[in-house]
Symmetry: D2
Subunit: 350 residues, 4 copies
Amino acid sequence: MPGNTFGTVFRVTTWGESHGPALGAVVDGCPPGLTLSAEDINEELAWRKSRDPRVSTSRKEPDQVEICSGVFEDRTTGTPISLLIRNRDVDSSSYDHLRNLFRPGHADYTYWHKYGIREKRGGGRASGRETVARVAAGAVAKKVLDQHGIIVLSYTLALGGIRAQKLDFDEVYKNPLFCPDAEAVPRIIERLKEVKEAGDSVGGVVEIRAQGCPAGLGEPVFAKLDAMLAAALMGIGAVKGVEIGSGFAAANMLGSENNDPLSPAGFLTNNSGGILGGISNGDEIVARVAVKPIPSIEKEQQTITEDGEPTKLSVKGRHDVSAIPRIVPVCTAMVRLVLADMLLQQRAIR
Amino acid sequence: MPGNTFGTVFRVTTWGESHGPALGAVVDGCPPGLTLSAEDINEELAWRKSRDPRVSTSRKEPDQVEICSGVFEDRTTGTPISLLIRNRDVDSSSYDHLRNLFRPGHADYTYWHKYGIREKRGGGRASGRETVARVAAGAVAKKVLDQHGIIVLSYTLALGGIRAQKLDFDEVYKNPLFCPDAEAVPRIIERLKEVKEAGDSVGGVVEIRAQGCPAGLGEPVFAKLDAMLAAALMGIGAVKGVEIGSGFAAANMLGSENNDPLSPAGFLTNNSGGILGGISNGDEIVARVAVKPIPSIEKEQQTITEDGEPTKLSVKGRHDVSAIPRIVPVCTAMVRLVLADMLLQQRAIR
Amino acid sequence: MPGNTFGTVFRVTTWGESHGPALGAVVDGCPPGLTLSAEDINEELAWRKSRDPRVSTSRKEPDQVEICSGVFEDRTTGTPISLLIRNRDVDSSSYDHLRNLFRPGHADYTYWHKYGIREKRGGGRASGRETVARVAAGAVAKKVLDQHGIIVLSYTLALGGIRAQKLDFDEVYKNPLFCPDAEAVPRIIERLKEVKEAGDSVGGVVEIRAQGCPAGLGEPVFAKLDAMLAAALMGIGAVKGVEIGSGFAAANMLGSENNDPLSPAGFLTNNSGGILGGISNGDEIVARVAVKPIPSIEKEQQTITEDGEPTKLSVKGRHDVSAIPRIVPVCTAMVRLVLADMLLQQRAIR
Amino acid sequence: MPGNTFGTVFRVTTWGESHGPALGAVVDGCPPGLTLSAEDINEELAWRKSRDPRVSTSRKEPDQVEICSGVFEDRTTGTPISLLIRNRDVDSSSYDHLRNLFRPGHADYTYWHKYGIREKRGGGRASGRETVARVAAGAVAKKVLDQHGIIVLSYTLALGGIRAQKLDFDEVYKNPLFCPDAEAVPRIIERLKEVKEAGDSVGGVVEIRAQGCPAGLGEPVFAKLDAMLAAALMGIGAVKGVEIGSGFAAANMLGSENNDPLSPAGFLTNNSGGILGGISNGDEIVARVAVKPIPSIEKEQQTITEDGEPTKLSVKGRHDVSAIPRIVPVCTAMVRLVLADMLLQQRAIR
């Protein structure tokens, strides 16, 4: 069944495997007349790239998009926008020793059960590489949000057990971790080095904020704004949890603590995370996602072969220690897709 | 925009307001030949009802469904199944003092901004009453799952700050809290009484397990099984967070801890919560949701009127202290809807 | 698979069988604030009823809708509108002799192959009775169109081989055939009587016009306005053909004849039927449908039983001689559903 | 709003303009394990090309597809299949004189009203060139149908007023007109030459047959097989009418003539065109489409400029005299897409 399309009015279909010729996205339903160039998209793709060898692996060349349709003289025309990104570094020889076994924590076991076939060149559609198409599409969604003054910002709230103690948003794009706490950065990098040397990997938490979002977005009862954000974010590879506003902390709160009092100037607190009854309330939208440690580790693990025989596995080669920070721009992109879609949906009814 | 339909192959559309004449659901895409009677559905609806006055408010009469179509001689025919549940207790006079102001933590503010109109009889479509239609539809989904031996169980993991210390699933349906820890029950009830007397409310955590689910369900990359579960569960009124398997704890784990080793007999641990790469792996599916405290409290709160004037609010009348336990069967229903849909989707490709 | 939902933004789900307890529709995505009462819908349902015994069979009581949700104080609220119409006359004894055989031209053979089960009370979901839900939903769509001054009119262009020679639209609602040519009416009625006495049935052509439709509606390339009209109209029970503007005549025309010249005052002809490239051009939208003769005839026919044995069939009881005129308001309803949906879709992009 | 996706389970999204860099399609929901190569698709694309200069214009080089994803070692993997076809001949200078006026019968007027922007390089998304993506996707659908022994054949039934008098299906691929009547071919070619010399264009009728289709396909009541075929075919550029089986002729028939009697060996006639109640009955599926004359003609026509000023237009340059025969493989492709989708949909329920 088709699972590669996201959104209702602003609708994105992605395709592509990590070791195939290319990846891409088709954005259908984008309003006409928006300025859009390849540079706009390449800039977002660059954020997804590693900028620090201590933090993540690097493919040499940056990703470059080709806009194949839907744009004329740097303006969207209202027809589908096809975005194409070539894979440049598709040597899959480092996957040779993995081809007949299943990697713990990976999707190769489940893809094989689902499709009865294995794409043995690499991670295939389950690779983190898949998210390049999401980021490209998110760059188009950004254009819709720009028109309405909506800004989406994601950052590393915690990584390797170390949590940002302050939220200095100006700091986010200044360090390779997208961390809003400059003092936490060297400590986290130290921690990542330790883990790498131990042949292990770590998880963390990404927080996403959307500012400037008008009240009224979200479609009860099943396409609520928080439900769509949850689907969008949980659908990113390494994410194991999503919370909005006070989130899991709300489970331990009293109503008198968690309710956000209303004043003539607006809400006095924001435990709701900007969403009430599944509809935006005009306040800042706040979500957090739990990111699991990357499953590919050098440490020896117990697993089985395709024939069901027990074996040991140690994943060699370049592998990130954490899906963070690469996943940060992906979170931004997914939230942009949701908000652009919900904005256009709301236009249809009023 | 339409937001009241859930699912792709097994597709449910719900309708109805808390103080209107009725609520209901249309289940389209249900396979033909399944046995289905009103009793099957009424039984599920009964679980949604309070059985203990210490825990939640009670409407006197149980909900009764009328099956208006799609069933002939107690068997589904393959045509849409229309389920109708009359509202019996729709006196909305207790809402009179709420009609010109906004309740903190409630959706009346956002519905008003979204639709430009207020349904002043009660909670309307944002009321917890809405979930009766979900539970009815979930009872149909159960029939699909029964054929495949899949069982979904939800229970109260924590409530009012007290967490179940053991998971005795036989206990769940024996106490009014759906709590798997018999010893925790009196302590929680005591806590609920305290909170009630203080005019306040509390949150908690519900855990959901699905057993017997085959490997291969879920549609990458956007309709992943965990993404659909997240949307399904986050779309329930009071839910502020969803996690799968190790969930937010994964953010603090090492890869070597979080990865589930594979043996010829299966996975040795289940941090994945039964889902890898968005596809079920044949292990038990485990999800948890954070439930916020009910926003309607007697304690005085600061708010504004429709005209934007500041005012004080104390919500009188019968109100539950927590959305738990009522929300427990709703979680079960939503997970059933997701699994039935994904089962049928998988049939289409193989 | 779900096939009972129509539309994207203005989305209708229908349900119900001819001999079940009720039929209905859920209209999701209707803008809030429109006036809507049961009378508005009952009025449309009344047009679907026979008013002349020479023309069609009569059920004694008119259909009455109950609006179960989505309307508060006679205004739509933006939430799903649930419409319920009880079946009053569900004696299915006249179907007794049909239960073990297949009626030529009917859907009982194909439903049985599709679902592996037969609803033996009557026509079930394949009965013309199903269209009562479409007409009810169409009455809601009319409210959306009213706001934009769009009027949809359908009428009998030909019946039993006799074609209307003039189009006097004021005449349409004055005769029981919805025929715009008063002089043709008695001739057609005479023809219907002859056919009825011969135990046979006849087909005809219905023409549908939509006036006041703005340029710009329709979503290329697959959800073109003409494609959606074709699906909407071909999806009505007895329809075997749909054409737009010059339609099949265009196959015999030259480009210089069929092209509609443009002047500063608009198009000089309307061979396009108001649609170019799948998008409305601001001119009148014109469609025609071919309606096959009703398959239930008294004349003896050759058929087989469920066991595959040859047998003879003569369908007794009250049966219309033609699906026309009953089908005329159904065509109107379906075109209204398409236009309301396309209007709201267009709002989303500009 | 997104209108560029077709199908529910076997779902195709197309993109691309006539004078942009490329066109393409993403096929999502294709079952895994089917053999598929670029050659399979190029072969279908070749049929779409002119093979006779008397009949239609020629672009020198054949279209070549690149399969960018979803296929590994010549087998589909179950992930989205991205197909890319480069435009090679995108000199748009011949469109220079058309840029500030509207061509009668063309979509430039309506696109401008819809999107508020004009793609002035050529026909853009409204060009017949768009159909190359449909044909490519149809070649994938063919693989699904091959597994079930379903064959789709389309041919020219009438062109320029001359109708095929016999249906010799072996003849269809032997002449440049895809005409099943060898004797009609020279007469039609003669007629096309006359029309071309007169600076005019002509329409015709294409007939489509699907053999081997099992009973049970089609999803009542809105996604009926005939409704989906009607949408699929009416959504092709030049099509103004669609009929199934006896089609418009049924409007003049008696029930006793139009009903197909059933015998133990099957239906004795096929006026239904293989579809009853919107569900396939196991008989051959037969559809016909009316194709309008190509609107671009050299003969002088009356039109207006973008500023609304009256002007005259004579379209120079290479233009086909008729959309037939190029449209014939497009009809085949669209019917394949419908049948592949419906086959997989039916799998989901039984």
